[in-house]
């Protein structure tokens, strides 16, 4: 295990630099138009796909970039500083394919991961439902045994890339009464009979990221498309989210960093009372707090990613990281709008978009409340273990 070190290797600096260039030159200039139209930035994301900015965590042998969690975190912060919505759509592919990488057979990894990546296709992770968000174990999408496999019925809600994906990783239950013990994970092609998706949601922020409902109406699922054993789905989903949670945290860091950069540059230019507003202590304290909290958020997320790379259980740390980074992004972007004054409240300047984009970080992949629930549970568990 590496000793305590904050230095990046030469390779990590190159990776970060490449992602930064791509974010600054390709994503940032294109983002406002996609934010307005809500169109899916397919060409841009395919360009990112070619460069390895999609499927970063997937092993090289399966066509991914094969990066560590820490290296991926470095890249995702950069991409998110360009546009969080576009980044969410990029990372969604990892989220959908990781369950297959961790629990699939070799044949399934080839069919559902390698072939999908080779064809530059998209996949979606379908866990949330209209009636089951935070309470994942309460999901009701139904999987019934039939000859040669299963029949799938139900609806999924808020599915990132739902309208553009070629393949869905679906979590469903064989018996709702069993709660988490009844959950299974299956892979369903988007063109299978009975699969459909709703229209793209008209969202507050991250509007470039495609979000739809996905419906399954008597869809036949062969047994060979079930990932892991029956009843293992919940564990697979949680393990996947443990891996991606720090990445969601760095999306927040990327947004917050961009907001601070914008606010700093504006504060140095904007003059009131005969001076740059950056010379007023009231503004300086906003900037100072933002810089400090962004750094803290980044360090928390990188540590959570590093723990994962080193095989250390990071449930507590990744929840702390995601919660703090998301809340920091919300605060920093709100403050950035404040620094811009009235100009910040218009679409002529970039900070209102950052504020709208940041809000989602407190909601998806476990709300800020749910992260606190997890943190407290881990703390109490550890304390109880000490007592006994």
């Amino acid at each position: 295990m590496a000793e305590y070190s904050f230095a990046l290797s030469e390779e990590q600096r190159l990776i970060q630099e490449s992602a930064r260039k791509f974010a600054d030159n390709e994503i940032w200039p294109a983002a406002p138009a996609f934010d307005r139209s809500g169109d899916f930035p397919r060409d841009l994301i395919l360009k990112a796909y070619e460069l390895g900015f999609v499927n970063q965590l997937i092993p090289e042998a399966l066509g991914g970039a094969g990066l560590s969690n820490l290296d991926t975190a470095l890249v995702v912060e950069e991409l998110a500083s360009g546009c969080a919505g576009i980044t969410t759509s990029c990372v969604a592919n990892d989220l959908a394919l990781i369950p297959i990488v961790i629990a699939g057979s070799d044949e399934q990894k080839k069919r559902f991961v390698k072939d999908i990546i080779a064809a530059r296709k998209f996949a979606s992770f379908c866990l949330s439902e209209p009636g089951a968000g935070s309470d994942v174990a309460g999901l009701s999408c139904k999987l019934e045994k039939v000859d040669g496999g299963y029949k799938l019925n139900g609806a999924k809600q808020w599915i990132t890339n739902g309208g553009v994906a070629d393949q869905y990783t679906v979590f469903c239950t064989m018996d709702k009464e069993l709660r988490h013990k009844g959950i299974c994970c299956v892979v369903v092609p988007a063109d299978a009979e009975g699969v459909s998706h709703g229209p793209h949601e008209d969202k507050l922020g991250q509007r470039a990221s495609n979000t739809t409902t996905v419906n399954f109406d008597n869809v036949f699922v062969p047994e060979s498309s079930r990932i892991g054993k029956e009843g293992e789905g919940f564990v697979i989903a949680m393990e996947t989210l443990d891996i991606t949670r720090p990445l969601t945290g760095v999306i927040a860091v990327g947004i917050a960093r961009r907001a601070l950069e914008c606010a700093l540059s504006y504060a140095c230019q904007r003059k009131q009372f005969g001076k740059a507003i950056a010379e007023f202590q009231g503004i300086q304290f906003i900037l100072a707090d933002a810089a400090t909290e962004i750094d803290a958020a980044r360090l928390l997320t990188l540590r959570a990613a590093w723990m994962r790379d080193n095989g250390i259980n990071n449930s507590l740390q990744s929840s702390m990281a995601k919660r703090f980074a998301a809340d920091t992004a919300m605060k920093v972007t709100t403050d950035a709008v404040q620094v811009y004054g009235g100009y910040g409240y218009t679409k002529d300047y970039p900070v209102e978009k950052l504020m709208r984009d940041a809000k989602l970080l407190q909601i998806y992949e476990g709300t800020s409340q749910i992260q606190r629930v997890v943190i407290a549970r881990e703390l109490v568990k550890a304390a109880a273990a000490k007592e006994s």
Partner: protein, 252 residues
């Protein structure tokens, strides 16, 4: 197999504000971010494209500079170059030293083509390519905006950006080609490319082993920042603007 040599220089990031060191004849380098000279990036891109177009080619990149220059070589490897040679020295290197070192490197192997930047964005001398061609007695095609190598690697057709237009010439190979801005648009190093670059060979060569004497012929005496721009003014009306453009700026 044909071999292409691509010299790569590290230069300060053009997006950074450089500061002049207290001695007054150099820039402060302690907090500088280094990048690959943009014209060299174009050279690497061109060599890699020739390789990707299907010819059996090895692209070798070489850099002269302090130890940390390995990072710029690694970037070139990540873009698709096959191997790197790092000539390590902390000495002051002017175009004259550089061309003599590059000539020694060139002679160590059997290259059909050298593609290099027309100039580096730090010293802006625009001489190394020409000096190298003269020293090696090779044809040169400078300021290339298009490069086509013949199928048998005996000649290359090069379109050059000359004053007021384009000139297309043919040179026999081996030759020295220097790149202009419009030759191509360099790629971003891909993540798999960066991961692969780690495993590509990088030979370290001590400058002393090349038998090249490095004593710069050019000494920088002084550096000055560009004059600060004076603040702009706001005009009250279109009429006032037209008046100022006519009578002060004298542009209309």
């Amino acid at each position: 197999m044909a071999k292409i040599l691509v010299p790569v220089k590290r230069v300060p990031d053009y997006e950074m504000k450089v500061k002049i060191a207290p001695e007054g004849n150099a820039i402060k380098t302690d907090s500088i971010k280094w990048i690959v000279n943009p014209f060299d990036e174009i050279a690497v891109e061109e060599a890699v494209r020739i390789k990707e177009a299907g010819s059996d080619v090895e692209v070798v990149v070489v850099s002269i500079g302090p130890e940390g220059t390995s990072e710029q070589l690694r970037t070139a490897l990540a873009m698709g170059a096959d191997r790197a040679i790092q000539v390590i020295t902390d000495a002051e290197i002017d175009s004259d030293c550089a061309h003599r070192i590059l000539a020694a490197i060139y002679q160590q192997d059997d290259y059909q083509l050298v593609i290099m930047g027309k100039q580096s964005i730090d010293s802006d001398a625009n001489q190394t390519g020409q000096l190298l061609a003269a020293k090696l007695g090779l044809p040169q095609a400078t300021f290339a905006s298009k490069l086509e190598v013949s199928g048998d690697w005996t000649s290359a057709k090069v379109t050059r950006e000359v004053d007021g237009g384009l000139e297309t010439i043919s040179v026999t190979l081996p030759a020295i080609v220097t790149t202009d801005l419009r030759l191509n648009e360099p790629r971003y190093p891909s993540l798999p490319g960066i991961v692969k670059a780690k495993k590509k060979p990088m030979d370290v060569v001590e400058l002393s082993s090349l038998g090249v004497e490095v004593s710069p012929k050019v000494r920088v005496l002084a550096m000055e920042p560009p004059a600060a721009r004076s603040a702009g003014i706001k005009v009250e009306s279109v009429a006032a603007l037209v008046d100022k453009l006519k009578n002060e700026a004298k542009v209309i």
